[in-house]
């Protein structure tokens, strides 16, 4: 055989050449860009910065019923204002253990997820800040304002983390991600953490505009309000075992001066208490200093709805009847003949919501069988609406709920979320914070008119609390405090009145437990609560608050493990 005929040779050349041609033409084919993603270059532009800012806001609405940013489980249920609810103790069982404090474990998934979701909030803010700070003022005229907004948001997340967990790792935009593993939850002390939060709010207060550019963004007053809140918590100094060791008057002064700015703003009380808890045209009203904006028919599958509070819809309206107002809270609304609360004796008997003298805020806060559901006399809340009354009673929480006919009530799967905004800073809260600071500063006289503003407004808030025939739903008697007439306005009495007023005004808004911890009375109050309440409800029989432990949630064990032991567990766990 002729090994090297021409034909073979040319075939061989082609054959050898082909692979080589293939290789040359392919060498750039390994450069493949990601699809449908924004590149790093696009991030550091004004448009990129704006987008990251929007996403940082969006996280406010990304809560979920078992890691709710409303903190209903942590602020209301743990504070004795509500029972967990649901079909029974085992429905979201870990919340039952958190409620009774008897079995709070370090590895509850709900707690870990809440921590994670809040840090997503922080990380979105830090990403936005990194982008904003890479731009000049000329490139991005909104630079300072956006930085202020972002720092406000970050401080909001840290504030929430702080009141839940006490010691948290503090990460801002200056920390490089590769060094996150060196930042422990004790890198900053209790007070230093408050200081960091306050710094962000201070910056925001100095750099935010007087009036909101968009209704969802914070303005100067919102920053001052949150700064006041931060300083108020900070004022009550705590040791490592969560004992309140004193009260810092500098911080209290800071509360007063920050609230000065809020009082000087255009925010004021709604004429009717109810307006704060109604959807639609009532949202972003004069009392809403800063609120989470929910929306519907917005191009998402179900709407950007309030997923955090959806479980508190009574079973009779849908599902799932969680967050049942406690008997103790209901009783607290009783008033005496003078229209003052029964601060010491309120819990001696259970309120009759029809015949007893009550503060009208009761019927804005708690649904009682055979009364209107959300001011609608055509939709009476019934005993049968409750899912398991033998265990959790037959009340329901009203403030976060809406009238099913309002157009803001939706059905998603077994759940019924609504599109009503969640107010985070309410002007009434600012009045109470200011009053609290003044009282602790010994300036209780200045606090009296602030508290009375709320009581007067409460008295005036009966317009919607009427039956179909126009008669009032209850016997509403509420009057302001008058020093020397119906109360001796001493610091002690003022403090007592303030604390009681705060509970009534802010009930079911996610804060009572944190107030108790701030004041250093959580153990006493909660164990008193259990002592009486467990005689009414068997599920509370194991309820017991362990002082120097249960003031805070445990640092999630998962995070301690991820940090390879850098994070330290809270005292008592």
């Amino acid at each position: 055989m002729n090994l090297f005929n021409k034909k073979s040779l040319s075939t061989a050349i082609i054959a050898l050449g082909l692979p080589i041609i293939t290789l040359v033409s392919c060498s750039k084919k390994l450069d493949v860009n990601p699809k449908g993603a924004i590149s790093q270059e696009q991030i550091n532009t004004p448009e990129g910065a704006e987008s990251l800012v929007t996403a940082a806001y969006a996280q406010l609405g990304n809560d979920h019923y078992d890691q709710p940013f409303s903190l209903w489980e942590y602020g209301d249920v743990r504070g004795g204002d509500a029972y967990k609810g649901g079909s029974g103790t085992s429905d979201i069982q870990n919340f039952h253990f958190i409620e009774t404090f008897a079995g709070t474990l370090v590895n509850f998934g709900e707690v870990d997820a809440l921590w994670y979701d809040m840090y997503i909030g922080v990380s979105r803010v830090n990403a936005a800040l990194n982008s904003i700070e890479s731009l000049t003022d000329a490139q991005y005229p909104l630079k300072q304002q956006r930085i202020a907004e972002m720092r406000f948001l970050r401080a909001h997340w840290y504030f929430q983390l702080k009141i839940l967990f006490k010691y948290v790792p503090y990460i801002d935009e200056n920390a490089d991600r590769s060094h996150y593993d060196t930042i422990g939850n004790r890198t900053l002390s209790n007070d230093q953490l408050w200081e960091k939060i306050a710094e962000d709010f201070s910056f925001a207060a100095s750099n935010l505009p007087q009036t909101k550019t968009d209704v969802g963004r914070p303005d100067k007053a919102a920053a001052f309000a949150y700064l006041a809140k931060t300083r108020l918590y900070q004022a009550y100094t705590q040791d490592d075992q969560n004992n309140v060791t004193g009260i810092n008057t500098t911080d209290l002064q800071a509360v007063v001066s920050a609230t000065d700015s809020v009082l000087a703003s255009s925010y004021h009380l709604e004429s009717d208490f109810a307006n704060n808890f109604l959807p639609g045209k009532y949202e972003n009203g004069v009392e809403s200093v800063w609120a989470v904006q929910y929306s519907h028919d917005d191009g998402t599958q179900y709407g950007r709805l309030n997923w955090g509070d959806q479980l508190s819809v009574p079973q009779g309206l849908g599902c799932c009847d969680f967050k049942k107002p406690s008997q103790n809270l209901a009783n607290a609304f009783k008033t005496d003949a003078n229209g003052l609360p029964l601060t010491d004796t309120y819990n001696n008997s259970d309120v009759n919501p029809f015949t007893d003298n009550v503060d009208p805020r009761m019927d804005h806060t708690i649904a009682f069988p055979n009364k209107n559901w959300k001011y609608n006399s055509a939709n009476i809340f019934l005993d049968s609406w409750s899912r398991n009354p033998a265990v959790y009673g037959n009340y329901a929480s009203l403030k976060e709920n809406v009238d099913p006919n309002s157009g803001y009530f939706f059905h998603v799967g077994p759940f019924f979320p609504n599109a009503k905004n969640r107010i985070i800073l309410r002007f009434a809260d600012i009045l109470l914070m200011r009053a609290e600071a003044l009282i602790e500063l010994g300036r209780q006289a200045e606090a009296l008119p602030l508290i009375n503003q709320l009581r007067v407004r409460a008295a005036a808030s009966t317009g919607m609390l009427v039956n179909a025939n126009g008669s009032p739903e209850g016997k509403y008697v509420v009057k302001p405090y008058i020093d020397g007439v119906n109360i001796a306005w001493t610091q002690d009495n003022a403090r007592k009145a303030l604390r009681f007023e705060r509970r009534l005004e802010m009930a079911e808004e996610g804060s009572h437990f944190f107030d108790l911890v701030r004041w250093g009375i959580a153990a006493t109050e909660m164990n008193n609560f259990f002592a009486v309440e467990k005689t009414k409800w068997s599920f509370l029989s194991v309820g017991f608050f362990t002082k120097n432990k249960n003031e805070y949630l445990p640092i999630p064990q998962n995070q301690i493990n991820f940090s390879q032991g850098l994070y330290k567990q809270n005292f008592g766990y």
């Binding site: 082909l18 987008s51 990251l52 940082a56 979105r124 917005d298 493990n561």
Partner: protein, 1038 residues
């Protein structure tokens, strides 16, 4: 009778040919495949000849003479001539199963089995074909040493996952499939298994590393059937099977549920009548303080409207039925010296045992090749068109819901039309029958075009160029309609249509030059090549709400009037490779092979884009040595070969964009119903509705320093044959070290959602031993049998654990970690039985929630408190060993076979115990397994199931050794009895073969560990149940 037929045939032939001939002719073919066999020695009394390359022969012979047909690797066949005029005889030779001359495809070239130096398992495709699964990989379970297959019983078989030689890597254990030279990584159930001619599993790196970066999990080489020269063949195979629910979980009925609820309540000192589940109890306490349940009272109706009647539903019965599997294949093939073709059609239809689920596959194949220019150039193609369609389990997991749904809930309301469902106070589990019925038209269609075209050019003697272009194209479209419904308090008045479509286009082009020559006793085989692979996937989905009719004909986007949504994305990646291979052998005794591959992947950053994967292997065929052949050793060993191989393979299974920081807009976020949505849109302007401004968030942190994950494997092997190769087998020992394993580990919360990052993490090692044995026995000419078995084991451990993944595999993130332990090891508390006396309770360490009948956890650190520090390593999911055993026998026209497969000594996490052993550990308020009725009570003090309680105060949901059980099992996987019509009858019927058979799959659970309390140790996680299948079938060839 037989004689008469022969006589008639002979007469007919003789009449038609008018004269006596003193020669006979015909063709010799391989029995099972009808491949022509060349060079067969054909011996008569006075004459001797060889068959040509197409198997044709002609020999002079006398009537009554016996002709012997013999060929290496085949059973010798004797034919007694009844009439010398039989000019068109077809002689079928049966191959010896372990034929050493069998040619196997290994990495772009072919080798004879006896020359192999790597660890290669050759699968007997006939054994796979006996099973009815749509996925040949599922059928591979237990068939080859070192190959571990798991999977549930879903009709498509798509859940089967395969692991070759232990857990080699972490993201995917899928091996690389090379089908007719085209690489692919998934979806074997989408191709027709009966087109498979041969299957080889390249297990070690020396064999697989020619496939470089994708070979870390091993390579499975599949060659499809080709047309045979000179032989028009038509064959039909059809079977029908019935499948049944084999292992059903026993759950509580309405009465049992009440009893357990009552017991849990009285145990807790809670009034049992405060439940929200409509149960009322009449109970008392006897003088000894013993609680007695006198009567369980249930209302006649579950709701006030009296539409739901209280009942006793067995949800598993309601959602299942006997399934039917039908499988038909028709093959047509022909060929001559210039080319051949094969055309096949397949129709597979599996109606699963869960009602409304089914899987259908239609497939068509055309394989052809043609020789041009004096046979110097061969062009050919293999082309398949496959269409699959599946209705899967509805979401949420219906099997889990059938367990959880309450027995008192009826399937239908009293009118027999409406759906039953939970009423207020009950759990929010859907009616599983509604779920499956509403899902019955929600199928996907998948069209897959798979094939290749090639040209083979013989350039010079021994030098061949081959260019192969392969394509794997998939088009997936699905339509899912969520109907409105009312089912108890669960309802939806909004219907939604979701449609989605995706296209996957994978192309590859390989060019190879191959030089094969013999220089005296030296044999040389050199291969050089390049390969380019490109994959582009894109997808989109759209949904609408608000359809005025729910008729199937309305389920199109245009018919909806509500909210519209859509989305879509794409993925792309490319590989570019250069490779070479040299095989050398001297005198068939000394064998050596070297390969080198340089692979580039677009998935890696510029710094580490290319990886080099070298390998070599050596073999010594001792049985060819003189001191063997010429001594007694030659009488004992018919074959003996020692092998050693070493090589590296890679893995690049990471996100295609892993090196980049990824920022994405996620307008709505995920479905917020059951999990946090993480959306990026926000109503910042407070408009309340309308289009929202949307931002973007970082969802991945890029890692530009990512590099290949590499596996280095050494393999020592011995192949042997005894008794003239009646007994053959091989033993292999391997050490496989995988380093820089690519993972996307869970991350600390402070990283935020952008914490997702691919890294090169841990390293690990697998060591293993594999043994495969085959014995071909023959009792007489009528009765033969084959026994083959395989057993394999591996030991896995993590050998390196960098900081970045310290907490990714359990442990406590610091002192306790997986280093030095097998991957997947279970970490948790040690359950030390139940507290049986108050003394035990009092004397034990402080344990929150402890009490009588509760699980006692061990205080491992001895500090007197049970806390997170009291956890340790409590189980290893890797089996001690796995095995398979095949027996087949043929007696006259009957054949019989069975196949047993088993797994020994693995720990399984029987997480279903949370539902079978506890009232409140998981999903309280839902139905439970019957084991709760044997829970601990003071009257039942020896129980092993903890006392029932309404709340899990002792935190028994914590992961502990209570859930760890042995997953050992042995199953009768397949049994088949067949009957083949005798030759004479066939000839009368003008058929070349006709076989009928009956058999079954998954027939018996022969053995399981006593410690296992679940239903099927093979699927403790409780997927689609593995059914028992009974099959009848027929195969006909013309």
């Amino acid at each position: 009778m037989k004689r008469i037929i022969y006589l008639l045939i002979g007469l007919f032939i003789s009449l038609s040919s008018y004269a006596q001939h003193s020669s006979m002719s015909g063709v010799v073919v391989e029995k099972t495949t009808n491949n022509p066999i060349g060079s067969v020695l054909i011996k008569g009394i006075n004459h001797m000849t060889l068959s040509d390359s197409l198997g044709h022969f002609s020999i002079d012979a006398e009537n009554g003479e016996t002709i012997t047909f013999s060929q290496v690797g085949f059973q010798t066949y004797n034919y007694k001539i009844v009439n010398t005029d039989a000019t068109s005889l077809t002689i079928e030779l049966e191959p010896l199963p372990s034929s050493l001359d069998a040619v196997v495809v290994t990495g772009y070239t072919k080798e004879r089995k006896k020359d192999l130096t790597g660890a290669v398992s050759i699968v007997n495709v006939n054994d796979l074909d006996k099973q009815t699964t749509a996925n040949p990989i599922k059928a591979l379970q237990g068939q080859a040493a070192g190959v571990y297959v798991t999977g549930d019983g879903s009709p498509s078989g798509s859940s089967a996952s395969i692991q070759i030689r232990g857990v080699g890597t972490l993201n995917s254990t899928q091996p690389l499939y090379i089908i007719d030279g085209v690489p692919t990584e998934a979806g074997m159930h989408e191709l027709n298994a009966s087109d498979i001619e041969s299957m080889q599993i390249l297990k070690d790196a020396s064999a697989a590393s020619i496939y470089g970066s994708r070979a870390a999990n091993g390579v499975i080489i599949i060659t499809t059937k080709k047309g045979k020269a000179g032989h028009l063949a038509v064959s039909f195979v059809g079977s029908t099977s019935v499948s049944q629910y084999a292992y059903k979980m026993k759950v509580l009925n309405a009465g049992g549920f009440g009893q357990a609820l009552w017991q849990a309540s009285v145990n807790d000192g809670v009034d049992p009548n405060t439940n929200s589940l409509l149960y009322k109890f009449n109970w008392s306490v006897d003088p000894n303080g013993q609680h007695i349940l006198n009567k369980t009272i249930l209302p006649e109706y579950l709701n006030a409207a009296q539409t739901e009647k209280t009942t006793n539903t067995d949800w598993f019965n309601e959602i299942t039925h006997p399934g039917i599997i039908q499988n038909y294949n028709l093959t047509l093939s022909n060929g001559n010296e210039k080319g051949s073709y094969l055309f096949s059609m397949g129709d597979y239809n599996n109606q699963g045992i869960v009602k409304t689920t089914n899987f259908k596959r239609y497939s068509m194949r055309l394989n052809s090749d043609y020789k041009l220019f004096n046979d110097r150039v061969t062009i050919g193609e293999n082309f398949t068109l496959n269409k699959t369609r599946e209705v899967g389990l509805p979401d949420p997991n219906i099997m889990q819901i059938a367990l959880q749904a309450l027995p008192i809930v009826p399937v239908h309301t009293v009118d027999g039309i409406g759906w039953g469902g939970p009423e207020a106070g009950m759990n929010d589990r859907q009616n599983p029958v509604r779920l499956e019925q509403d899902n019955k038209d929600n199928y996907y269609n998948y069209l897959r075009i798979f094939g290749n075209a090639y040209v083979d050019v013989k350039i010079l003697k021994g030098l061949t160029f081959r260019s192969n272009y392969g394509v794997d194209y998939g088009n997936y479209n699905s339509r899912s309609f969520q109907k409105t419904y009312k089912s108890g308090y669960l309802s939806s008045d909004l219907n939604t249509l979701n449609v989605s479509e995706s296209q996957t286009t994978k192309q590859n082009l390989s060019n190879t030059l191959n030089y094969v020559n013999d220089f005296g006793k030296h044999h040389l085989d050199v291969l050089l090549g390049t390969e380019y692979y490109h994959e582009y996937d894109n997808n989109f989905w759209a949904s609408r709400q608000g359809f005025s009719s729910q008729d199937l004909d309305y389920q199109y986007l245009d018919a909806g009037s509500g909210t519209q949504q859509n989305g879509g994305n794409a993925k792309e990646y490319a590989l570019l490779s250069y490779f070479g291979k040299v095989n050398y052998s001297y005198d068939g005794r000394y064998l050596a092979s070297f390969t080198l591959r340089d692979d580039g992947s677009s998935r890696f950053g510029r710094n580490n884009q290319y990886g080099i994967f070298p390998a070599f292997s050596l073999g010594w065929r001792a049985s060819q040595e003189k001191f063997f052949t010429e001594t007694f050793l030659g009488n004992i060993f018919s074959d003996l070969k020692f092998r050693f191989g070493w090589g590296q393979t890679g893995n690049q299974e990471i996100a295609t964009n892993a090196t980049f920081n990824i920022y994405q807009t996620n307008y709505a976020g995920g479905d917020p119903t059951w999990a946090t949505s993480l959306g990026t849109a926000y109503d910042i302007k407070g408009t309340g509705s309308g289009l929202l401004p949307s931002g973007y968030a970082q969802t991945q942190t890029g890692n530009p320093n990512l590099r290949w994950e590499a596996s280095t494997m050494s393999n020592w092997g011995i192949d042997f044959g005894f008794l003239n190769n009646h007994l053959t087998g091989s033993v292999d020992y391997f050490i496989k070290k995988t380093s820089d394993i690519l993972v996307n580990p869970p991350y600390i919360a402070v990283d935020g959602e952008g914490g997702s990052q691919w890294v090169n993490g841990a390293s690990m090692q697998n060591k293993g031993l594999e043994l495969a044995l085959t014995y071909n026995g023959k009792i007489n000419d009528d009765w033969t049998y084959t026994i083959n078995g395989n057993i394999s084991e591996y030991r896995n451990k993590i050998t390196e654990l960098p900081q970045s993944v310290l907490y990714s595999y359990g442990g406590n993130g610091s002192t306790q970690n997986i280093l030095g332990r097998p991957i997947g090891s279970f970490y948790g508390y040690v359950a030390d039985g139940l507290f049986r006396t108050q003394k035990e309770v009092d004397e034990s360490a402080a344990q929150q929630g402890k009490g009588l009948g509760r699980i006692h956890y061990k205080d491992l650190d001895g500090n007197g408190i049970i806390d997170v520090q009291d956890q340790t390593w409590i189980g290893n999911p890797n089996p001690r060993f796995t095995y398979g055993f095949n027996f087949s026998t043929r007696y006259k026209n009957f054949d019989f076979s069975f196949f047993i497969q088993g797994v020994q000594g693995n720990d399984v996490n029987n997480i279903q115990k949370q539902m079978t052993d506890f009232w409140s550990v998981s999903d309280p308020g839902s139905n439970k397994g019957v084991r709760v009725l044997d829970a601990w009570t003071p009257e039942n003090p020896n129980a092993t199931v903890p006392a029932l309680t309404l709340t899990d105060a002792n935190n028994e949901s914590r992961f502990s050794s209570y859930y760890i059980e042995k997953g050992t099992y042995m199953k009768l996987r397949n049994l088949q009895l067949g009957y083949t019509l005798p030759k004479a009858t066939l000839q009368r019927m003008k058929l070349s073969s006709f076989r009928v058979y009956i058999g079954g799959d998954n027939l018996l659970l022969l053995m399981k560990s006593k410690s296992f309390t679940g239903v099927d140790p093979e699927t403790p996680a409780y997927g689609y149940p593995n059914p028992r299948i009974l099959t009848g079938g027929v195969s006909i060839s013309l």
